[in-house]
Symmetry: C2
Subunit: 153 residues, 2 copies
DNA sequence: CAGAAAGGTTGCATAACGAAACCAAATAAG
DNA sequence: CTTATTTGGTTTCGTTATGCAACCTTTCTG
């Protein structure tokens, strides 16, 4: 009765959720994007139990999303930092944030702005090669041979 | 000891995860984007237990991500369809899919293409108002007054 | 040396999950 | 009309995950 794993479903979305799809992982990543690096700071900013935080950080490190850096000062002290792979989740986190703000209202105390201009960000969208925005109705799902999938049944 | 809720953290990312952040919800949404609408089809395509699927569909309907439509044919038969709010998760799902493909390799048997041109999609990115791509290092987190957050400690 | 801080680990109670069995309504088969 | 099947669940039960508190270890601080 082990929790079903998503990495053997032949679906990259499932594979991604297997790495960052549980209750806390993406929040830890988001918090790291805000600048948090130390164990106790994650703990206080997120209100997460220590054992769960420990488990999540370990999993994120194992999956290459974060790295544990030994900063020698003041005895046993580590920093958890995002890797390139982790920073690349910025798109996902931002899309999720914007989705929530669009449909659930502004419940966040913070806002993201362009560091250069100070302006708010543009909405994250899916685009084609020409830069045109696409909805889910504008795309088709095809298999390796380019044949459209008939997957509903 | 109830599972911690994310909707009271003053964070829209947490709020979003509270709605679609568990193990199955986003996969159900993704499957719906592929065209799946009926209970048994979700069950077979995802390999999810019936009670869990039932719970997730109910939660998605309660959260306005999907609707349950009574299609009168053949007795008790319903369809679960995405709402506008649910379809708007296309950006999140696509960003997650692309992230997984970039960092974990092509493990998916299907591909997304522009319905018009047949070309693969462009990578989902965060952009500023001028359409320039931004990384997490190019943005700043500010509070309501525009002051930068010092949130690490 | 005593005390505190950082970073964990352990134990326990509760909640969620997964598989299979069971159920009810309505249609299809005979 | 009777039986079987399909659909969409609910129930039961064992396993796993989560949250909280307590404890542990190493290193700094006083």
């Amino acid at each position: 009765m082990t929790r079903k794993r998503f990495d053997e479903m032949g679906c990259s979305v499932a594979c991604a959720l297997n790495e960052v799809g549980d209750w806390w992982s993406l929040l830890v990543v988001k918090q790291a994007m805000l600048g948090t690096r130390r164990f106790v700071d994650f703990q206080h900013n997120l209100g997460i139990a220590k054992n769960i935080l420990c488990n999540r950080l370990t999993r994120l490190v194992d999956n290459g999303v974060m790295v544990r850096v030994d900063v020698g000062e003041h005895g046993k002290r580590y920093e958890y930092r995002l890797t390139d792979k982790g920073r690349d989740l910025f798109t996902v986190v931002t899309a999720l944030r914007q989705w929530s703000e669009r449909w659930n209202g502004e419940k966040d105390t913070m806002q993201l702005v362009d560091r250069q201009t100070g302006e708010p960000l543009a909405p994250v969208t899916v685009q084609n090669q020409q830069g045109q925005t696409l909805t889910v109705r504008d795309v088709r799902f095809v298999d390796e041979d380019g044949k459209p999938l008939e997957e509903a049944g």
